[in-house]
């Protein structure tokens, strides 16, 4: 009876069978070599009496062969088994619900998953990441550094680091570390003057910036120690400020202030306008099979990334398929009264018509309680007719929290759009 765990090792894509085969060939060559030398010695040298007994010559030759084969196979098998255990035991997670074979399988399979770039920020982006990380580890999240509210904003002003909040959410979404550590990363201090309201993960990234000397390496190291699947990159490393021009021609500065303006937003822009894109982000966009824009706050999470001009240029030039995931609800202060159509049009007005080819909208409209001051977004594909985009309407909403996407539903729709997977 072969244990189930053993068969798992022989599944395709484990990169195990090929090495087992090589090992067998190696053993075969070794045995042949030894046999040749022995034959030569046997023919030229006198052998002591004991050799007769040690080599079991009293048995039939075929039986002898089978016996040595069996003993050899058992020894080699046990040696391999114990060797891999000795080597891997310290690396295995202590809780260990998943066997080693499962872990290796996941690692291999996900490593071959499609290359997906997700652009946005905040809760929307982390929702998306939570879904697609089940399909691929070739994920790049591109995140804005224009955030200036809450704990992030305070750290930005008081410690002079780039705002870590959106990065923290992405790291938490993609981390493979122990659940308690991930939970801690999202933990918000709720007492203590000066600490109150700060999120632990933000302080973690800020401390990492202090150790490594810059934000970029801080992200890299944080991702490494928390075993993040994929990579999380800033769209720019410059200290940019998001500004908005309103319908009443007044202007507002600062991402966190924009939703509180006196009039609807006319357009947003970055200061400085010529911020340099983060080169790694451009490379990821260029190599991606699928580029996903959104979901997330239209003006304050998605646009700050796209306003870095090289990012937009790179998306337009990229060969991968480009998708905009429209929000499932309007956002107070930003997109009040907007329909899905207005979202798409606003993006096209800011960045041109050729930024994306597909739009994913929600077709399962859940009524919202009036006290939330939000409207459901979505509907039939016809709603977006004439905008020059292909519309995919599907049920992507989270039923328990209808202002958000459901990670699994959304990931399935998006994976269907990857050329190599379709």
């Amino acid at each position: 009876m072969i244990p189930d765990g053993f068969l798992k090792w022989l599944r395709p894509g484990m990169h195990v069978k090929r090495w087992l085969a090589l090992l067998l060939v190696g053993i075969l060559c070794l045995s042949l070599g030894v046999a040749y030398i022995m034959t030569h010695l046997y023919r030229t040298q006198p052998f002591p009496e004991s050799a007769y007994w040690v080599t079991l010559q009293f048995l039939d030759r075929r039986l002898r062969g089978l016996l040595f084969l069996a003993v050899g196979a058992v020894f080699a098998g046990v040696a391999l088994w114990r060797l891999s255990h000795s080597l891997l035991a310290p690396l295995l997670p202590p809780s260990g619900q998943d066997g080693l074979a499962d872990i290796v399988y996941r690692y291999r399979q996900l490593g071959k998953g499609p290359r997906i770039v997700a652009i946005g920020g905040g809760t929307g982006l982390s929702t998306l990441l939570r879904g697609i990380k089940a399909y691929t580890s070739n994920i790049t999240a591109i995140v804005t550094v224009a955030d200036d509210g809450g704990s992030s904003g305070r750290l930005r002003r008081e410690l002079g680091v780039l705002p870590p909040g959106d990065f923290r959410q992405c790291i938490a979404a993609l981390a493979e570390a122990e659940p308690l550590v991930t939970e801690l990363f999202q933990y918000r201090f709720d007492q203590g003057e000066g600490l109150n309201g700060h999120s632990f993960g933000n302080l973690f990234i800020a401390a990492m910036s202090g150790i490594t000397g810059n934000f970029e390496r801080a992200l890299h190291e944080s991702s490494r120690v928390l075993a993040v699947r994929g990579q999380i990159l800033p769209s720019t490393l410059e200290d940019v400020v998001l500004c908005a021009e309103l319908d009443d021609d007044s202007t507002i500065e600062g991402e966190s202030q924009i939703p509180h303006g006196p009039a609807p937003i006319k357009r947003v822009y970055l200061r400085p306008a010529d911020a340099q894109a983060y080169p790694e982000a451009l490379k990821a966009i260029e190599e991606a099979e699928l580029i996903v824009i959104g979901p997330g706050s239209l003006y304050t999470s998605i646009m700050p990334n796209l306003l870095v001009e090289d990012i937009t240029q790179a998306i337009k030039a990229a060969r991968g398929r480009k998708v905009y995931v429209c929000n499932v609800a309007t956002q107070p202060g930003e997109t009040d009264g907007y329909k899905a159509r207005d979202h798409v049009r606003t993006l096209q007005e800011h960045f041109g018509k050729n930024l994306f080819d597909y739009v994913v909208i929600n077709d399962r409209v859940v009524p919202m309680p009036p006290e939330w001051h939000v409207d459901s977004l979505g509907g039939r594909p016809e709603a977006l007719a004439g905008l020059g985009v292909r519309v995919i309407s599907a049920d992507v909403v989270e039923e328990k929290q209808p202002t958000r996407h459901n990670p699994q539903k959304l990931a399935q729709v998006l994976l269907g759009l990857v050329p190599s997977q379709g």
Binding site: F189, E193, L195, L203, M208
Partner: protein
């Protein structure tokens, strides 16, 4: 020598963890029992903010024993600096880690265990108690000062006795188990009142040490420490410890017979830090207490002076030399 013997080291984040670092070469079963009454700098800030047992010494001990990713060690010791944010300025990240985990899980014990796992410790670090309390001192002039930071403050009358703000708090259960099973118990080195005796004051600790069958060793400091042991001789250090522990609770005392360079001694003297020298008379007094003195050179010739935050440093023990002497004692 007993294979993989069980060692328990009592003290603070610096002294005790140095002993532990030395013992790591001989055994994996090391338990640090660490004071939680520190109230200086960032530890003090986080305690005011969140009312947790002091994480500072625990943090130091954890980092010293860590065999894990060096980044975590650096992260734990990283101090924020911000002129605009007083509460966060000087705050060690490891303290925030322990405080956040304590708040999140509701248990300081679990927080320390999680940090132990994350830092991949050889051995373990236990807070002497899971309760938050403060060290207080009665001075010779009768005044009482509260909190560790004030107990070790400079320019005040000598300390008459120290006590805990909450004298009834219980020792952490795992500490008692560790002391009962130990083959070797070390006490110190470290600040006499504010770390060593601060641990011994916790209800249950002295009793467990007294009843233990382990070899019990007091590792005596190399120098006096301004603010708490000015003018105390070597044997007075030992007798102070015995005062709080009870006679017969210590088998050996490790005394430093080495001497740092003349220049360094002069530098220390400028800060009123004086070497504790094992003169024949001192050694005899220690013997009279029923303790076997063990003399050896524990200080490195290259010792240099460190600046600690509002605290005077003493000449440090070389972990390897202390461990080598300790191992000899359990062979006897």
């Amino acid at each position: 020598m007993k294979e993989n013997f069980k060692a328990v080291c009592i003290g603070g984040g610096c002294g005790a963890s140095q002993v532990m670092a030395g013992l790591k070469a001989y055994t994996k079963q090391i338990t640090g029992i660490i004071a939680v009454t520190d109230s200086g700098r960032s530890t003090g800030k986080i305690r005011i903010a969140m009312n947790v047992p002091a994480p500072g010494d625990i943090r130091n001990a954890l980092v010293t024993l860590s065999d894990g990713d060096p980044v975590f060690k650096q992260l734990f010791q990283h101090r924020f600096s911000s002129e605009k944010l007083h509460e966060l300025d000087g705050m060690a990240f490891g303290n925030l880690f322990l405080a956040a985990l304590t708040q999140m899980t509701g248990s300081f014990e679990l927080a320390v265990k999680e940090a132990t796992r994350l830092l991949q410790l050889t051995g373990r670090v236990l807070p002497v108690t899971l309760y938050s309390t403060h060290l207080c001192a009665e001075l010779v002039d009768g005044t009482v000062v509260q909190e560790e930071f004030n107990v070790r403050a400079l320019n005040k009358p000598p300390i008459k006795r120290v006590f805990l703000q909450h004298p009834d708090i219980e020792v952490y259960r795992d500490c008692v188990d560790a002391l009962q099973e130990a083959d070797l118990i070390t006490i110190g080195p470290g600040s006499l009142y504010t770390t060593v005796i601060a641990c011994l004051l916790v209800k249950g600790v002295a009793k467990a040490i007294k009843e233990s069958r382990a070899v019990r060793v007091y590792v005596c400091n190399t120098t006096t420490q301004p603010g708490q042991t000015d003018g105390l001789s070597l044997s007075q250090h030992v007798s102070e410890v015995l005062n709080y522990l009870g006679t017969g609770a210590i088998d050996y005392a490790l005394l430093n017979s080495g001497s740092p360079s003349e220049e360094l001694r002069r530098k220390y003297a400028e800060d009123r830090v004086y070497l504790l020298e094992p003169h024949a008379e001192e050694v005899r007094r220690i013997q009279d207490m029923g303790i076997t003195p063990v003399l050896a050179d524990f200080v490195a010739a290259t010792s240099s002076k460190r600046t600690l935050w509002e605290k005077q440093d003493s000449v440090r023990h070389v972990p390897e030399r202390v461990a080598a002497e300790l191992v000899k004692l359990i062979q006897i």
